[in-house]
Symmetry: C2
Subunit: 248 residues, 2 copies
Amino acid sequence: MNLVLIESDEVNIAGQVTLADARAVHLLDVLGVTPGTSVRVGLADGPLGTAVVTGVGPRAVSLRCTFEPTPPPRPAIDLLLALPRPKVLRRLWAQLAALGVGQIILTNAARVERNYFDSHVLQPTSYRPLLIEGLQQARDTSVPRVSVHRQFRILVEDRLDALTDARLRLVAHPHSGARLRDTLADRGASPVLLAVGPEGGWNDFELALLESRGFQSIGLGARTLRVDTACVVLLGILREAIEKSSEK
Amino acid sequence: MNLVLIESDEVNIAGQVTLADARAVHLLDVLGVTPGTSVRVGLADGPLGTAVVTGVGPRAVSLRCTFEPTPPPRPAIDLLLALPRPKVLRRLWAQLAALGVGQIILTNAARVERNYFDSHVLQPTSYRPLLIEGLQQARDTSVPRVSVHRQFRILVEDRLDALTDARLRLVAHPHSGARLRDTLADRGASPVLLAVGPEGGWNDFELALLESRGFQSIGLGARTLRVDTACVVLLGILREAIEKSSEK
């Protein structure tokens, strides 16, 4: 935990908050805070800041926070992801938040099993703590927006333009010869929407529909990766390219 | 499973093998093979090939394999990794094999807990099936060599030169300003040794020792990633850079 992320309804107008959950335990047991210790904090979907420990209890820590005037920029990458197996998605939430995505758009696809939609990992009470965990790891405050879509065609044809303003749309496809880096070259730091299919890939209809809506197909070389590994690699490469081009 | 990986002691001189484990179940239940079906195979640390199904039983599949004359090249990336928590390492084995590493050199470090070395995930019987799973996903046959070292200084000072002939040595460090892509630019497809530290990072002594042995420090931007996420991102970026430069 490289940052204590605080929900806006936890902190009062004077910046005071008392934590009595896993965050307090981490502050006490791992960081060993005592009154007067300074710690990095952030407000969920708000600014970063610093806090001074004003009091400690057996499993509680009180903080007085000072926040920066403006929040950090939201990540410039949105992810359109065919709903993975619940076990895989559970592993992904924190990693996606840590890598930095503005939103996670989960969709049905021909190779997605219907019962995946019934999983509790799609409940905000289940995934929000994992997103927060990832943000605390990466020192960010921008909680990815999450939406779940059971009809791929309606999502792509009717909803996507309203959901995201990313100008560059990419679809990962194992058999594509176009490489991510070449496609990104000289594109600058424009927001990106990255589509990643299910295990076994998008089917021909889905791929054609995505391409008809402006998605460019990109591959990752000769090796076929598991969906979660591919997501992490692609987001890592995208982030490096975007950070690099915004440094110019 | 995009490839059936077969151990060399399973197949006879005529290329015949009968599988009666998870591979057979996958062939029958997922791929629905019947006599005459052709499937992709590979020999562990040997060549790729194809096989024809010659017989099926309730939980068994017989194959006749034809292998290519030469094995695929071994991955040009070696990983020096501070031993992660057992739970994290268990998740990593298949992903490392899928991403393609020639060897995995696991080491102690100041921020590695001693009891991690007692975990059964360090037993070949535990990790080899996971490495095989990753290779079957990525259609490769090169099983990463694994070694475990309890003394960081002895490893780095006395053993490393014999273990790996990678000319480019990189150490991932969150606070490094040097970016991986810039460091890789124009380096060509030379073998790479990548060092990734424990959660919390290498300490100053370890970092200095690595740098004294030719490791260049590289970072991944502003976000601090969990060790497993960082490994996957770094190996993904390295692989893309190496494949790209070998296409030139």
